[in-house]
């Protein structure tokens, strides 16, 4: 096997590895309903958290 071809197999294999991970991630996103609401997340991230009162912070 020539040098050029064999190194390509490595790079392509690793590239496909990332590809497979990405596909897996995408499938998971869809199946768990991550993509069902695309309207409120960009709004919700703008809200700052409600600060807790000092007394309650003991639970934290």
């Amino acid at each position: 096997m020539g040098d050029a071809v064999s190194i390509y197999l490595l790079v392509v294999a690793v590239g496909l590895g990332l590809f497979a991970v990405a596909i897996g991630g995408l499938v998971w996103l869809v199946r768990t309903g991550q993509l069902e609401d695309l309207d409120t997340p960009p709004l919700r991230m703008l809200h700052d958290d409600c600060p807790a009162t000092p007394k309650e912070s003991q639970h934290g």
Binding site: P41, M45, G60
Partner: protein, 761 residues
Amino acid sequence: MAEAASDAAVHHEEDHKAVLDTFSYDNRLPMWFAWATIIWGIVGMLVGVIIAVQMTGLGSTWGPKVLNQEWLGFGRLRPLHTNAVIFAFTGNAIFAGVYYALQRLLKARLWCDGLGWFHFWGWQLIIVAAAVTLPLGISTSKEYAELEWPIDIAIAAVWVAFGANMIGTIFKRRERHLYVAIWFFLATFLGIAMLHIVNSLAVPAGILKSYSVFAGQQDALVQWWYGHNAVAFFLTTPILGLMYYYLPKAAGRPVFSYRLSIVHFWSLVFIYIWAGPHHLLHTSLPVWAQAVGTVFSIILWAPSWGGMVNGLLTLRGAFDKVRTDPVLKFYVLSVTFYGMSTFEGPMMSLREVNALTHNTDWTIGHVHAGALGWVGFMCFGMLYWMIPKLYRTKLKSVPMADLHFWMASLGIVLYVISMYAAGAIQAAMWFKFDASGILAYPDWMAILRELVWPYIGRAVGGLLYLTGAVLCLWNLIATAKQGQPVEDETVQAPPLAREKPVHQVVGEAAAVKGNVFDRMTAFHSLVERWPFALIITASISLVIGGAFEIIPNLVQGSLTPRIETVKPYTPLELHGRDLYIREGCNSCHTQMVRTLRADTARFGDAHMGGVPAYTRAGEDIYDRPFLWGSKRTGPDLDREGLIKNNLPGWHYRHMLDPQLTSAGSIMPGYPHLYDYASDLSDLQARMSTLAGAPMYTPYSEAEITNAEALAAEQAAEVAGRLRKALSGNAEVTVPDDLEDKEIVAMIAYLERLGTDLTRED
């Protein structure tokens, strides 16, 4: 009535309290990473300014020669600059930004405080190790991966801690939806882990020396697959994650299109990884592979501009705020530079354009538009937004931040335009043939002299940018002083409906009765329940499986030289090559004559006995690592042995003081090579490493055992020739023990370059 109503209100409040978790965000970790960002940023930029001033001729054409200290050489400081600004400045900014945003997006404290501090101190120690080893010349020479193997292992360990902390936090989150920024952060973790491990595969030949398991053209492909994707996964995806969090936060309005941001993410993840070969156009890489790189690079333009538009339009209706808010000023210019760089990149991947821009300073301008503009401005904007929040105060001085913005902007413009000018001059002169078809500017020095003003412009631009960063540090310190650090920020959020605990789910799966198929199905559904387990297992197995399958092939492939006359380096030449790597000569000299007439005519056609001089893949099969380089400030050296063999003593005079042979050269002198005796004590170890698995360089037992004697024999021969050539030369003195000096090994290596292909024996 009133009493009842207030009663109800109290009850309602208690219900509300009962469903809220009270917890705290760790602000100390992002705080420390933020300070590390600005401090290392200034260090990295300062080194950049120093080497930019060197490029104007400091220490060679002007200024005291005493600045030619061995550890101040451009070849050693350049990797220090690139590593510092990429991994120290940008790296710390990414970690600060990720740890701050991740906790808030997931409504959870970081998974493990201890892991966070291991990450912080581990990363800072790695940076210090880099800052010590690189000036000492301890380098692999692979760009943006110069650190030697013990540091590489430390990087892998710290990187895994970073990923584990992110994923652990995702597991304990109180917000079901993973905001798009988090996907960019996860891709960063996975991508860099994979790239770093593959590109760093090397066999140690000592505590601070290793040889790449890949050779020549293979090593070049792996390196630029890494190099390009380091841009993708260290300088693009994490910065985009920051953009998608901090830009909407600062603008006070949601991202223009959340759907577009998701399309942006997935298209980058699927396309970026295939574009690396555009760094190797017109080389000995197969043309089909080059074409793959070009095609994917052009495709990348579309999603990149989608992201740019998405960022800029997030400010719709809020553009007036850009006038008054320095944070938004930095973000707007940053995103604009993202658009510019991601347009320019695909253009530079076109073969015809690349022929002109590659190896020139145009490329340096391109990367700095991306690094200073896109990455730098995003990081500064984030710091100006985050530090006041972490210290519960307001930015100390808005006019000072505005001044920083304008100084840095002017600095970038000056820098980039200077480099475009330099690149255009280089391309025009390299490629110019006269009416009869002969190179119009055969004298390299005539070209270099034209670059003085662009290089001065670059240094001034860099200085402006650095000064802006110092103002930033002052402003941030003053801001912190007037505020109070909020180290643990206590907040409340409703808990996420918990899934069953792990042990219970596993127990249930184990309790499934029936045939083997039913039991397997039960366990498989477990894997599906935990997507991250699936993702991690899949990627690790794919990468390991792929590597084990392919590496034996690589070895087989490089066992048999395809060009009969190409032989491994002699012991002395090998030592000279390692010195070439130590001094970072590849920072300015390429060893790749491209398949372009402008290249072959300039770099060797006349000396090749009738065959064209371009570099063949088969010539580099013993080159671990490859030394093709990427920037041609000095001439290509791939045929150096052929070109200079009629000029005895030339190299000796040149490296002692380049002005002796090349008036106006901006190369530093290397007097220390004439002082130090070659350290051959580990030469046998180096050779047996190369001869061992998995590289199998064909050195015989006798060659390895007699390495020092063979080296001494060749050194005596080279030194004898040098003495003869230099006798009566008043400019230089030749030491009595010349054969022991490092310069002799270096010259032996340079004289060997390019001679294998045409030699008779």
